[in-house]
Amino acid sequence: MSQHQSQKAQSAPAGFEPRIVAFFCNWCTYTAADLAGVSRLKYAPNVRVIRVMCSGRVDPQFVLDAFARGADGVLLGGCHPGDCHYAEGNYKTLRRMRMLGRMLRDMGVADGRFRLEWISGAEGDKVKAVVNDMTAKVRALGPLDLPGKFREWDQETAELERQVHSQDPKEVARAR
Protein backbone atom coordinates (compact mmCIF):
# COMPACT_ATOMS: atom_id res chain seq x y z
CA MET A 1 0.00 0.00 0.00
CA SER A 2 2.99 2.27 0.09
CA GLN A 3 2.84 5.00 -2.48
CA HIS A 4 5.98 6.80 -1.56
CA GLN A 5 9.17 6.32 -3.56
CA SER A 6 12.38 6.11 -1.68
CA GLN A 7 14.60 9.13 -2.36
CA LYS A 8 18.09 8.03 -1.57
CA ALA A 9 20.24 10.81 -2.93
CA GLN A 10 18.71 13.63 -0.92
CA SER A 11 21.55 14.87 1.22
CA ALA A 12 23.92 12.53 3.02
CA PRO A 13 25.34 14.37 6.01
CA ALA A 14 29.12 14.53 5.84
CA GLY A 15 31.21 13.81 8.91
CA PHE A 16 30.16 12.95 12.42
CA GLU A 17 26.55 13.33 13.44
CA PRO A 18 25.98 13.14 17.19
CA ARG A 19 23.30 10.89 18.65
CA ILE A 20 21.53 12.54 21.55
CA VAL A 21 19.05 10.73 23.78
CA ALA A 22 16.50 12.99 25.40
CA PHE A 23 14.19 12.27 28.34
CA PHE A 24 11.22 14.59 28.12
CA CYS A 25 8.57 14.95 30.79
CA ASN A 26 5.08 14.44 29.40
CA TRP A 27 3.40 17.58 30.68
CA CYS A 28 5.87 20.27 29.77
CA THR A 29 8.78 19.34 27.56
CA TYR A 30 7.12 16.63 25.48
CA THR A 31 4.16 18.93 24.94
CA ALA A 32 6.52 21.73 23.94
CA ALA A 33 8.14 19.41 21.41
CA ASP A 34 4.68 18.62 20.06
CA LEU A 35 4.02 22.33 19.83
CA ALA A 36 7.26 22.82 17.92
CA GLY A 37 5.96 20.19 15.53
CA VAL A 38 2.56 21.77 15.16
CA SER A 39 4.28 25.09 14.50
CA ARG A 40 6.47 23.38 11.87
CA LEU A 41 9.64 24.72 13.44
CA LYS A 42 12.69 23.01 11.91
CA TYR A 43 15.55 21.74 13.98
CA ALA A 44 18.42 19.25 13.92
CA PRO A 45 17.39 15.56 13.65
CA ASN A 46 19.92 14.26 16.13
CA VAL A 47 17.73 13.89 19.19
CA ARG A 48 15.74 10.78 20.11
CA VAL A 49 13.05 11.42 22.68
CA ILE A 50 12.09 8.98 25.41
CA ARG A 51 8.87 10.00 27.12
CA VAL A 52 8.46 9.87 30.90
CA MET A 53 5.62 11.30 32.94
CA CYS A 54 7.86 13.43 35.10
CA SER A 55 11.53 14.37 34.91
CA GLY A 56 11.64 12.98 38.44
CA ARG A 57 11.28 9.48 36.95
CA VAL A 58 14.64 9.84 35.29
CA ASP A 59 17.09 7.72 37.21
CA PRO A 60 20.76 8.72 36.85
CA GLN A 61 21.26 5.09 35.78
CA PHE A 62 19.31 5.91 32.61
CA VAL A 63 21.70 8.73 31.78
CA LEU A 64 24.77 6.57 32.31
CA ASP A 65 23.23 3.68 30.41
CA ALA A 66 22.49 5.95 27.46
CA PHE A 67 26.13 7.04 27.35
CA ALA A 68 27.32 3.45 27.77
CA ARG A 69 25.20 2.35 24.83
CA GLY A 70 26.53 4.96 22.47
CA ALA A 71 24.83 8.28 23.10
CA ASP A 72 27.09 11.25 22.44
CA GLY A 73 24.85 13.48 24.50
CA VAL A 74 21.94 13.17 26.94
CA LEU A 75 19.31 15.85 27.33
CA LEU A 76 16.86 15.95 30.21
CA GLY A 77 13.80 18.18 29.88
CA GLY A 78 11.43 19.07 32.70
CA CYS A 79 9.00 21.71 33.83
CA HIS A 80 10.24 25.00 35.23
CA PRO A 81 10.83 24.95 38.99
CA GLY A 82 7.54 25.61 40.70
CA ASP A 83 5.48 24.39 37.77
CA CYS A 84 5.94 20.65 37.98
CA HIS A 85 2.70 18.88 37.17
CA TYR A 86 3.39 16.65 40.15
CA ALA A 87 4.28 19.56 42.44
CA GLU A 88 7.97 18.99 43.15
CA GLY A 89 9.30 16.24 40.91
CA ASN A 90 11.58 18.60 39.04
CA TYR A 91 13.30 19.71 42.24
CA LYS A 92 14.30 16.13 42.86
CA THR A 93 15.57 15.96 39.32
CA LEU A 94 17.57 19.14 39.77
CA ARG A 95 19.19 17.93 42.97
CA ARG A 96 20.11 14.51 41.61
CA MET A 97 21.33 15.75 38.31
CA ARG A 98 23.55 18.45 39.76
CA MET A 99 25.43 15.72 41.57
CA LEU A 100 25.40 13.51 38.48
CA GLY A 101 26.87 16.39 36.49
CA ARG A 102 29.78 16.61 38.91
CA MET A 103 30.35 12.87 38.69
CA LEU A 104 30.27 12.89 34.90
CA ARG A 105 32.88 15.61 34.86
CA ASP A 106 35.03 13.63 37.29
CA MET A 107 34.72 10.65 34.96
CA GLY A 108 35.96 12.65 32.00
CA VAL A 109 32.64 13.16 30.22
CA ALA A 110 32.97 16.66 28.77
CA ASP A 111 30.69 19.44 29.89
CA GLY A 112 27.91 19.91 27.42
CA ARG A 113 27.26 16.25 26.78
CA PHE A 114 24.79 16.10 29.66
CA ARG A 115 22.28 18.88 29.87
CA LEU A 116 19.25 19.65 32.01
CA GLU A 117 16.75 22.15 30.60
CA TRP A 118 13.49 23.54 31.91
CA ILE A 119 11.01 23.88 29.07
CA SER A 120 7.37 24.73 29.65
CA GLY A 121 4.55 23.39 27.50
CA ALA A 122 4.31 26.66 25.62
CA GLU A 123 7.99 26.93 24.72
CA GLY A 124 8.13 25.15 21.37
CA ASP A 125 10.84 27.49 20.20
CA LYS A 126 12.94 26.68 23.23
CA VAL A 127 12.89 23.02 22.18
CA LYS A 128 14.22 24.05 18.79
CA ALA A 129 16.86 26.32 20.29
CA VAL A 130 18.06 23.78 22.83
CA VAL A 131 18.18 20.90 20.35
CA ASN A 132 20.07 22.95 17.79
CA ASP A 133 22.46 24.35 20.34
CA MET A 134 23.16 21.03 21.98
CA THR A 135 23.62 19.27 18.64
CA ALA A 136 26.17 21.87 17.56
CA LYS A 137 28.05 21.69 20.83
CA VAL A 138 28.15 17.90 20.92
CA ARG A 139 29.16 17.76 17.27
CA ALA A 140 32.09 20.01 18.15
CA LEU A 141 33.02 17.75 21.06
CA GLY A 142 33.12 14.77 18.73
CA PRO A 143 31.87 11.23 19.22
CA LEU A 144 31.89 9.75 22.70
CA ASP A 145 31.33 6.21 21.38
CA LEU A 146 31.60 4.37 24.69
CA PRO A 147 30.76 0.99 23.08
CA GLY A 148 33.70 1.50 20.75
CA LYS A 149 35.91 2.45 23.66
CA PHE A 150 34.80 -0.60 25.62
CA ARG A 151 35.77 -2.79 22.66
CA GLU A 152 39.10 -1.02 22.36
CA TRP A 153 39.90 -1.34 26.06
CA ASP A 154 38.99 -5.01 26.05
CA GLN A 155 41.38 -5.79 23.21
CA GLU A 156 44.14 -6.19 25.77
CA THR A 157 42.37 -9.25 27.16
CA ALA A 158 41.72 -10.86 23.78
CA GLU A 159 45.13 -12.48 23.42
CA LEU A 160 45.05 -14.29 26.76
CA GLU A 161 41.49 -15.25 26.12
CA ARG A 162 42.57 -16.94 22.93
CA GLN A 163 45.60 -18.57 24.49
CA VAL A 164 44.10 -19.94 27.64
CA HIS A 165 40.81 -21.07 26.22
CA SER A 166 41.75 -22.11 22.69
CA GLN A 167 42.82 -25.65 23.50
CA ASP A 168 39.26 -26.73 24.12
CA PRO A 169 36.59 -25.54 21.71
CA LYS A 170 33.92 -25.82 24.40
CA GLU A 171 35.89 -23.39 26.53
CA VAL A 172 36.28 -21.01 23.62
CA ALA A 173 32.52 -20.92 23.26
CA ARG A 174 32.11 -20.49 26.99
CA ALA A 175 34.57 -17.63 27.16
CA ARG A 176 32.53 -15.49 24.76
Binding site: G56, D59, P60, Q61, V63, L64, D65, F67, A68, P81, E88, Y91, K92, L94, R95, R96, R98, M99, L100, R102, M103, D106, M107, G108, V109, L144, L146, K149, F150, W153, E156, T157, L160, E161, Q163, V164, H165, D168, E171, R174, A175
Partner: protein, 321 residues
Protein backbone atom coordinates in the same frame (compact mmCIF):
# COMPACT_ATOMS: atom_id res chain seq x y z
CA UNK B 1 35.97 -44.41 48.66
CA UNK B 2 34.66 -41.48 46.58
CA UNK B 3 37.07 -38.63 45.99
CA UNK B 4 36.45 -35.52 47.97
CA UNK B 5 35.42 -32.55 45.80
CA UNK B 6 38.37 -30.45 44.75
CA UNK B 7 38.37 -26.79 45.69
CA UNK B 8 40.71 -23.94 44.78
CA UNK B 9 41.27 -20.50 46.25
CA UNK B 10 43.05 -17.78 44.37
CA UNK B 11 43.78 -14.11 44.91
CA UNK B 12 44.11 -11.51 42.19
CA UNK B 13 44.51 -7.79 43.01
CA UNK B 14 43.69 -8.42 46.63
CA UNK B 15 44.55 -7.19 50.10
CA UNK B 16 44.39 -10.66 51.61
CA UNK B 17 41.33 -9.87 53.67
CA UNK B 18 39.24 -12.42 51.82
CA UNK B 19 41.80 -15.09 52.65
CA UNK B 20 41.58 -14.05 56.28
CA UNK B 21 37.82 -14.28 56.06
CA UNK B 22 38.15 -17.92 55.14
CA UNK B 23 40.45 -18.40 58.12
CA UNK B 24 37.87 -16.56 60.24
CA UNK B 25 35.60 -19.54 59.81
CA UNK B 26 37.54 -20.67 62.90
CA UNK B 27 36.49 -24.18 63.97
CA UNK B 28 34.22 -24.46 60.97
CA UNK B 29 37.26 -24.44 58.75
CA UNK B 30 38.14 -27.89 59.99
CA UNK B 31 34.82 -29.18 58.72
CA UNK B 32 35.55 -27.62 55.35
CA UNK B 33 39.05 -29.01 55.17
CA UNK B 34 37.72 -32.45 56.03
CA UNK B 35 35.06 -32.33 53.36
CA UNK B 36 37.11 -31.05 50.46
CA UNK B 37 40.47 -31.42 48.79
CA UNK B 38 42.15 -28.03 48.42
CA UNK B 39 44.21 -28.09 45.24
CA UNK B 40 45.28 -24.46 45.12
CA UNK B 41 45.63 -21.80 47.82
CA UNK B 42 48.63 -19.52 47.31
CA UNK B 43 48.42 -17.89 50.73
CA UNK B 44 48.47 -21.18 52.60
CA UNK B 45 49.67 -24.03 50.41
CA UNK B 46 52.46 -24.69 48.01
CA UNK B 47 50.63 -25.64 44.83
CA UNK B 48 52.03 -24.18 41.61
CA UNK B 49 50.40 -23.00 38.43
CA UNK B 50 51.72 -26.08 36.65
CA UNK B 51 49.80 -28.27 39.11
CA UNK B 52 46.58 -26.59 38.05
CA UNK B 53 47.47 -26.78 34.37
CA UNK B 54 48.05 -30.49 34.70
CA UNK B 55 44.56 -31.18 35.94
CA UNK B 56 41.81 -32.19 33.53
CA UNK B 57 39.38 -29.45 32.51
CA UNK B 58 36.39 -29.19 34.80
CA UNK B 59 37.95 -31.36 37.47
CA UNK B 60 37.85 -28.73 40.17
CA UNK B 61 34.40 -28.63 41.74
CA UNK B 62 34.64 -24.99 42.73
CA UNK B 63 37.18 -22.20 42.57
CA UNK B 64 36.85 -19.24 44.92
CA UNK B 65 38.62 -16.35 43.29
CA UNK B 66 39.00 -13.04 45.11
CA UNK B 67 40.61 -9.80 44.11
CA UNK B 68 40.15 -7.63 41.04
CA UNK B 69 41.91 -8.35 37.75
CA UNK B 70 44.64 -5.83 37.01
CA UNK B 71 47.59 -7.77 35.59
CA UNK B 72 47.97 -10.33 32.87
CA UNK B 73 49.02 -12.91 35.45
CA UNK B 74 45.80 -12.48 37.40
CA UNK B 75 43.84 -12.68 34.20
CA UNK B 76 45.66 -15.79 33.08
CA UNK B 77 45.13 -17.57 36.41
CA UNK B 78 41.47 -16.62 36.43
CA UNK B 79 41.05 -18.02 32.92
CA UNK B 80 42.98 -21.12 33.79
CA UNK B 81 40.90 -21.81 36.88
CA UNK B 82 37.80 -21.19 34.80
CA UNK B 83 38.81 -23.98 32.42
CA UNK B 84 39.59 -26.33 35.18
CA UNK B 85 36.51 -25.65 37.32
CA UNK B 86 32.87 -26.55 37.17
CA UNK B 87 31.86 -23.62 39.31
CA UNK B 88 33.64 -20.33 39.84
CA UNK B 89 32.63 -18.25 42.83
CA UNK B 90 33.51 -14.57 42.58
CA UNK B 91 34.64 -13.96 46.14
CA UNK B 92 34.57 -10.56 47.76
CA UNK B 93 33.97 -6.99 46.66
CA UNK B 94 37.06 -6.74 44.48
CA UNK B 95 36.17 -9.75 42.40
CA UNK B 96 32.50 -8.80 42.29
CA UNK B 97 32.73 -5.11 41.63
CA UNK B 98 36.37 -4.14 41.21
CA UNK B 99 36.69 -3.19 44.84
CA UNK B 100 39.07 -0.61 46.22
CA UNK B 101 41.64 -1.33 43.49
CA UNK B 102 39.07 -0.21 40.94
CA UNK B 103 39.35 3.35 42.21
CA UNK B 104 42.48 3.35 40.04
CA UNK B 105 40.12 3.45 37.08
CA UNK B 106 40.03 7.20 37.70
CA UNK B 107 43.58 7.40 36.35
CA UNK B 108 45.31 6.40 33.17
CA UNK B 109 47.87 3.61 33.28
CA UNK B 110 50.61 5.98 32.22
CA UNK B 111 49.77 8.43 35.02
CA UNK B 112 49.89 5.64 37.58
CA UNK B 113 53.20 4.25 36.40
CA UNK B 114 54.72 7.69 36.15
CA UNK B 115 53.65 8.55 39.67
CA UNK B 116 54.79 5.30 41.19
CA UNK B 117 58.12 5.07 39.41
CA UNK B 118 59.04 8.71 38.96
CA UNK B 119 57.03 11.39 40.73
CA UNK B 120 56.22 9.87 44.09
CA UNK B 121 58.15 11.64 46.86
CA UNK B 122 60.85 9.32 48.10
CA UNK B 123 61.36 7.52 44.80
CA UNK B 124 64.98 7.37 43.68
CA UNK B 125 64.81 6.42 40.03
CA UNK B 126 67.00 8.86 38.07
CA UNK B 127 66.96 6.63 34.96
CA UNK B 128 63.18 6.49 35.05
CA UNK B 129 63.28 2.74 34.86
CA UNK B 130 59.88 1.12 34.32
CA UNK B 131 59.03 -2.50 34.91
CA UNK B 132 59.19 -4.48 31.68
CA UNK B 133 57.20 -7.57 30.83
CA UNK B 134 60.35 -9.30 29.53
CA UNK B 135 64.04 -9.00 30.13
CA UNK B 136 67.17 -11.11 29.96
CA UNK B 137 69.43 -11.49 32.93
CA UNK B 138 72.58 -13.60 32.93
CA UNK B 139 71.41 -15.36 29.85
CA UNK B 140 67.96 -16.21 31.15
CA UNK B 141 64.62 -14.83 30.08
CA UNK B 142 62.64 -13.29 32.90
CA UNK B 143 59.11 -12.02 32.71
CA UNK B 144 56.74 -9.88 34.71
CA UNK B 145 53.00 -9.67 34.28
CA UNK B 146 51.68 -6.84 32.22
CA UNK B 147 49.89 -4.00 33.97
CA UNK B 148 46.53 -3.67 32.19
CA UNK B 149 44.94 -0.41 31.22
CA UNK B 150 42.10 -0.78 33.67
CA UNK B 151 40.91 -2.73 36.71
CA UNK B 152 38.30 -5.34 35.94
CA UNK B 153 35.88 -7.33 38.05
CA UNK B 154 36.19 -11.07 37.72
CA UNK B 155 33.09 -11.47 35.58
CA UNK B 156 34.42 -8.93 33.11
CA UNK B 157 37.10 -11.50 32.34
CA UNK B 158 35.54 -14.93 32.84
CA UNK B 159 32.08 -16.35 33.30
CA UNK B 160 31.13 -16.68 36.96
CA UNK B 161 28.42 -18.84 38.51
CA UNK B 162 28.05 -17.27 41.95
CA UNK B 163 29.00 -14.16 43.81
CA UNK B 164 29.90 -13.84 47.47
CA UNK B 165 29.73 -10.15 48.30
CA UNK B 166 31.52 -8.18 50.95
CA UNK B 167 34.80 -6.64 51.85
CA UNK B 168 35.37 -9.27 52.96
CA UNK B 169 32.38 -11.64 52.90
CA UNK B 170 31.42 -12.53 56.45
CA UNK B 171 32.16 -15.99 57.83
CA UNK B 172 28.44 -16.61 58.04
CA UNK B 173 27.75 -16.16 54.35
CA UNK B 174 30.95 -17.96 53.36
CA UNK B 175 29.92 -20.96 55.41
CA UNK B 176 26.43 -20.88 53.93
CA UNK B 177 27.90 -20.83 50.43
CA UNK B 178 30.27 -23.71 51.16
CA UNK B 179 27.47 -25.79 52.65
CA UNK B 180 25.26 -25.07 49.65
CA UNK B 181 28.02 -26.18 47.32
CA UNK B 182 28.74 -29.35 49.23
CA UNK B 183 25.09 -30.34 49.56
CA UNK B 184 24.31 -29.39 45.95
CA UNK B 185 21.49 -27.05 47.03
CA UNK B 186 22.47 -24.19 44.80
CA UNK B 187 20.32 -21.29 43.58
CA UNK B 188 20.11 -20.38 39.85
CA UNK B 189 23.38 -19.52 38.17
CA UNK B 190 24.32 -15.86 38.46
CA UNK B 191 22.92 -15.45 41.97
CA UNK B 192 24.63 -13.30 44.55
CA UNK B 193 24.78 -15.42 47.70
CA UNK B 194 23.32 -12.87 50.10
CA UNK B 195 19.74 -11.60 50.72
CA UNK B 196 18.42 -9.60 47.78
CA UNK B 197 17.23 -6.75 49.95
CA UNK B 198 18.98 -3.59 51.14
CA UNK B 199 20.93 -3.27 54.37
CA UNK B 200 18.36 -1.21 56.28
CA UNK B 201 16.40 -4.43 56.67
CA UNK B 202 19.05 -5.71 59.10
CA UNK B 203 20.16 -2.44 60.64
CA UNK B 204 19.36 -1.97 64.35
CA UNK B 205 19.12 1.79 63.77
CA UNK B 206 16.27 1.47 61.29
CA UNK B 207 13.47 2.41 63.66
CA UNK B 208 15.16 5.69 64.52
CA UNK B 209 15.13 6.86 60.91
CA UNK B 210 12.43 9.48 60.48
CA UNK B 211 9.94 8.98 57.68
CA UNK B 212 10.36 12.61 56.59
CA UNK B 213 14.13 12.92 56.44
CA UNK B 214 15.32 16.00 54.58
CA UNK B 215 19.04 16.64 54.67
CA UNK B 216 20.41 20.15 54.91
CA UNK B 217 24.04 19.11 54.77
CA UNK B 218 26.39 16.17 54.63
CA UNK B 219 29.07 15.60 57.20
CA UNK B 220 32.00 13.27 57.27
CA UNK B 221 32.34 10.80 60.13
CA UNK B 222 35.12 12.68 61.89
CA UNK B 223 32.98 15.80 62.03
CA UNK B 224 30.21 14.23 64.06
CA UNK B 225 30.02 12.75 67.51
CA UNK B 226 28.17 9.78 66.13
CA UNK B 227 25.14 8.72 68.16
CA UNK B 228 25.37 4.93 68.37
CA UNK B 229 21.62 4.38 68.29
CA UNK B 230 20.36 6.79 65.69
CA UNK B 231 20.15 6.25 61.94
CA UNK B 232 23.41 7.42 60.39
CA UNK B 233 21.80 9.14 57.40
CA UNK B 234 19.66 11.06 59.85
CA UNK B 235 22.91 12.31 61.38
CA UNK B 236 23.89 13.78 58.00
CA UNK B 237 26.45 11.06 57.33
CA UNK B 238 26.66 9.35 53.95
CA UNK B 239 25.50 5.83 54.71
CA UNK B 240 25.19 3.66 51.63
CA UNK B 241 23.00 1.17 53.51
CA UNK B 242 19.78 1.82 51.56
CA UNK B 243 21.59 1.09 48.29
CA UNK B 244 23.62 -1.86 49.54
CA UNK B 245 22.71 -5.50 49.75
CA UNK B 246 22.11 -6.98 53.20
CA UNK B 247 23.88 -10.05 54.54
CA UNK B 248 26.58 -8.62 56.78
CA UNK B 249 24.05 -7.89 59.55
CA UNK B 250 25.01 -4.23 59.48
CA UNK B 251 28.50 -4.74 60.85
CA UNK B 252 29.67 -1.21 60.16
CA UNK B 253 26.63 0.58 61.61
CA UNK B 254 26.96 -1.67 64.64
CA UNK B 255 30.54 -0.45 64.80
CA UNK B 256 29.22 3.12 64.81
CA UNK B 257 30.36 3.86 61.25
CA UNK B 258 28.22 4.35 58.18
CA UNK B 259 27.95 1.64 55.55
CA UNK B 260 30.26 2.22 52.62
CA UNK B 261 28.55 -0.15 50.21
CA UNK B 262 30.90 -3.13 50.01
CA UNK B 263 28.17 -5.73 49.42
CA UNK B 264 27.22 -4.04 46.17
CA UNK B 265 23.69 -3.35 44.93
CA UNK B 266 20.60 -5.53 44.88
CA UNK B 267 19.85 -7.53 41.72
CA UNK B 268 17.42 -4.85 40.56
CA UNK B 269 20.05 -2.15 40.29
CA UNK B 270 22.56 -1.82 37.47
CA UNK B 271 24.78 0.91 38.90
CA UNK B 272 24.95 1.19 42.69
CA UNK B 273 26.57 4.62 42.82
CA UNK B 274 24.08 6.17 40.41
CA UNK B 275 21.12 4.67 42.26
CA UNK B 276 22.33 5.93 45.60
CA UNK B 277 22.70 9.41 44.14
CA UNK B 278 19.15 9.15 42.80
CA UNK B 279 17.92 8.35 46.27
CA UNK B 280 19.84 10.44 48.75
CA UNK B 281 19.76 13.66 46.78
CA UNK B 282 16.01 13.49 46.25
CA UNK B 283 15.68 14.27 49.92
CA UNK B 284 17.89 17.29 50.46
CA UNK B 285 16.38 20.57 51.54
CA UNK B 286 17.35 23.30 49.06
CA UNK B 287 15.44 23.85 45.85
CA UNK B 288 17.70 26.42 44.23
CA UNK B 289 20.98 25.74 42.47
CA UNK B 290 23.18 27.66 44.88
CA UNK B 291 21.65 25.99 47.92
CA UNK B 292 21.90 22.58 46.31
CA UNK B 293 25.52 23.12 45.37
CA UNK B 294 26.35 24.08 48.94
CA UNK B 295 24.95 20.77 50.15
CA UNK B 296 26.75 18.84 47.41
CA UNK B 297 30.03 20.47 48.45
CA UNK B 298 29.76 18.41 51.63
CA UNK B 299 30.75 15.40 49.52
CA UNK B 300 34.03 16.48 47.96
CA UNK B 301 34.81 13.14 46.32
CA UNK B 302 31.59 11.71 44.90
CA UNK B 303 33.27 9.02 42.78
CA UNK B 304 35.31 7.79 45.72
CA UNK B 305 32.26 7.89 47.97
CA UNK B 306 29.55 6.38 45.79
CA UNK B 307 31.78 3.98 43.84
CA UNK B 308 34.16 3.12 46.63
CA UNK B 309 33.99 -0.59 45.77
CA UNK B 310 32.12 -0.56 42.50
CA UNK B 311 33.92 1.54 39.93
CA UNK B 312 34.52 -1.38 37.58
CA UNK B 313 30.78 -1.92 37.55
CA UNK B 314 29.92 1.71 36.98
CA UNK B 315 28.11 1.90 33.67
CA UNK B 316 30.95 4.07 32.36
CA UNK B 317 33.54 1.54 33.68
CA UNK B 318 36.40 3.99 33.82
CA UNK B 319 37.34 7.63 33.58
CA UNK B 320 37.56 8.54 29.95
CA UNK B 321 40.73 10.54 29.58
Amino acid sequence: MPDKPKVAFYWCASCGGCEEAVVDLAEDILKVVEAVDIVMWPVAMDFKKSDVEARPDGSIAASFINGAVRTSEQEEMARLLRRKSQIVVSFGACANLGGIPALANQFQKEDILKYVYEDCPGVQNPDKTRPQTETRHEGRALSLPEFRGMVRSLDQVIEVEYYLPGCPPTPKIIMAAVVALLTGKLPPKGTVLSPDVALCEECPRKDSKPADLALAEFKRPHQVLIDPEKCLLAQSLVCMGPATRAGCEALCPKGNMPCTGCFGPTSRVKDQGAKFVSSVFSNIVPKDEAGIDAVLDGIPDPIGTFYRYGLSKCLLRRKLN
